[in-house]
Each structure stands twice: as C-alpha cells, then as structure tokens.
Symmetry: C2
Subunit: 236 residues, 2 copies
Amino acid sequence: MSVVLPAERLQKALGYIFSEPRLLKQALTHRSHSSTHNERLEFVGDGILNALVARRLYHTFPQFSEGDLSRLRAHFVRQDSLAIIATELQLGDYLSLGEGELKSGGHRRPSILADALEAVLGAIWLDGGFESAATVVEQLFAARIAEVNPEDAMKDAKTSLQEWLQARKLSLPQYDVLRQMGESPDQIFEVSCTCVELKMASKAEGTSRRAAEQEAAGSLLKQLRLQYPGKKVVKK
Amino acid sequence: MSVVLPAERLQKALGYIFSEPRLLKQALTHRSHSSTHNERLEFVGDGILNALVARRLYHTFPQFSEGDLSRLRAHFVRQDSLAIIATELQLGDYLSLGEGELKSGGHRRPSILADALEAVLGAIWLDGGFESAATVVEQLFAARIAEVNPEDAMKDAKTSLQEWLQARKLSLPQYDVLRQMGESPDQIFEVSCTCVELKMASKAEGTSRRAAEQEAAGSLLKQLRLQYPGKKVVKK
C-alpha cells in the first residue's frame, strides 16, 4: 500500500522531501485561508533566496560591480520572475486559499504564487538546513542565471518596455493607479500598465507606486514578447 | 618563532580564522584604496546577514508577524547598528583606505565600518561555508536580539526621536541635506539632524534622503540617550 505524501508531486518537482510536512503545508497556506499562514515563512525564505542568488551571481559574474549584481539580483527575485518559477512547479495547485481568493483566481495571482514560493524555500531551509535550501535554489535558478542576458536584465522594466515600444513606433505606455490599500509603511498600490494601440494591459501590486509600475511594465513586456516575437505588431 | 597572521586580533575577535587570508584582506579594503575592494563581498555579506538575522528573529519571536519581523530586522542590520558592532571589533584599525579617506577619518565613518563588516561576513561565508558565517553572526547578534525591546526597535528612528523630544517638551528635530553626491540610482545623500535647544546634532549618509534622515535620527537619539539617561535635560 502506497502512502500519498502531502503535495507529493510538488516535493518531487522541488527535489526535496520534507521531514516535517506541516512546514510545507504552512508554506502553501495563504492568509485568507487560516491564521497559520505562510507569511512568516515567506520572510525567512526571502532572506535565504536573496543570499543564495547573491552568491551565485558573485561567482558567475566576477567582472560585475556591486551595483550591477544588485540590479541583476532584483531581476531574478522580483515577483514576476518568482511567479513564473512557481507556475512551472504548478505550485498554485497546492495552495490553500480562502473562499474569496479562490473565486477571484488567487491560485494564479503572481503575488500569491511568488510569496508562496519564497515561503516554500524558507520552509526547506528550516526543515532540512542550509544545504537543502541551497540545492533547491541552485536547481531552480542556476540555468536561468547562466542563460540571462545581463544587460537586458539590469535595465529596469519600465525602460525596457519603453524601448520595446519605441522600436515599434508605438506610443509610451500608460500607467494608472487602480487602488491604494492600507496605510504607510504597509501600503499597497495596484497599478495598470496599458499599451493603448495594441489593446494590451497588465496589472501589478507593489509597496510603492514605482515598484508596482515596474512590476506591471515587466509583466506587460513579457506578454508583448510572447504575442509579437518579431518586430511586426498589429495595431488594434 | 610566531608568525603574525593578517589582522590576527580581528580574526580572534570574530572567532574565525580564514583559510584564504586574501579574502579577509579584500573585505577590509575600501574602494578609495584599491580596485580590489570590498564592495562585491559586501553584496554577498549583506545577503547572508539578512538571511541569518531573519532566521534568528523567526525563532526568537514566534508571535510576530512578517511585517514586525521585517521592521525588527531593519533595526539590527541598519548602518548605525552594524557600525557599532564594527567598532566593538575595532574593525577600523584594519581598514585599507585611500589617502583622502584616511585624512577625513574614514576609519571611523559609520558607512565605511558597516560596509566593511558586511564584507567580512561575506568573506567568511565564501571562505568557510554557511556554518562558519552562521556561527559568527550568531555570536555577534544573538545577545543583542535576546535583549532587545522589540517595540522600541520596530519604531522607526525618526518616530522614536520625535517621541523622546516631545516627552521632554523639546521642539521637533531639524533635518538638513548637507550634500547630494552621484547620480540616480547611485545617489548618496548626506543629511544632518539637529536638536537646536540641546545644541546636539548628527550626520548620516543614505541612498535616499529618507534613509539618511532615519540614520541620522537614530544616531542623534543614541547620543541623546547617553547624554541624558533620565527625563531631565539641560537646554543650552
């Protein structure tokens, strides 16, 4: 008789089996579902992820200054990038969300996915120690880091989006603040970024308007690159 | 015949002996001295320090939210706090500085000391592995974390300073930008924070005006608490 481990497929995808599965369960629990949620683990995971990516970049790019390394790391650990990795791991399938979040598609929301991935990494560190976390982070990031075009990655997303649009003779994107929640310093801004001529838009949240705009720009640029891999675009 | 290790006393104070002393040497070299300076190591050290302090706070304060943990960590890893630890280690005595920095007292400057401490921690991680870095960080921070009053520590420095002054019927502090160097995003602001009635002031640098003001406020508050441990103050 085989025993089904919690999130067995996810643990296989991560290449790590938890000794204390309750830590994994907590890492996959959004605050909308239960008071034993993943935010404290996310704090720990954010720490170890940033440290490990810093070390990997230090070794991979011996010619880069601290400022360049820092910009490059921001590219790899930003919400958008983490959400892509979480999606590849199908992490959304294992999330425990409250009813509201479930109905509004929370298991596909980039912020929820990125936070849960960080929480899972934090849980692995606490469960299996540093080498376990290092092995998983290496497996998830090493190829991405080896293949990156550093110049592209170090440009901020708003600049890259602007350059992409200008190269196609399109107007600058439009940024709008959709919502502003909470009070400083825990404020959350939700902004949209729209390319009017192509009728494409993105939304993102951030702890500052600028951060949210960067996220939204990066996300729209990704959509645009998928939709129009070449130089030709179709105005709508 | 005894061989004098580089910075032998510092290595003893850290409780860590380097296998590759050139890493320690680099960690102690300011950019004003040589092109093989400590900024890349500082990037790595900042990462591991943040991760380790995150884990320690996670275990020490199981009741705290992610936001509280994050504010508490900011208190322990901010420039001012790191500069104090660096001073206790007499790290300034081992720094290689350029002539200009030497003349202007660079080996006592909080930003240089804090950066060098982070670089040393990064060098220990690279030289001796995770457990070595964890042991040193634990030794430097565990007692401070155990003894902290979290409520005080989580308040931002400007708020704490304002409260201290108001409790003594003094006016609000005055913040002035003294210098603004470099270009965005590598800008450095130097600000002063002055309590006019007590004729006491502090200076600090930061990558934003707000960050510099926070540093300066924290530094002035520390001076004020030393000078006036009780409620009574002497206007000058």
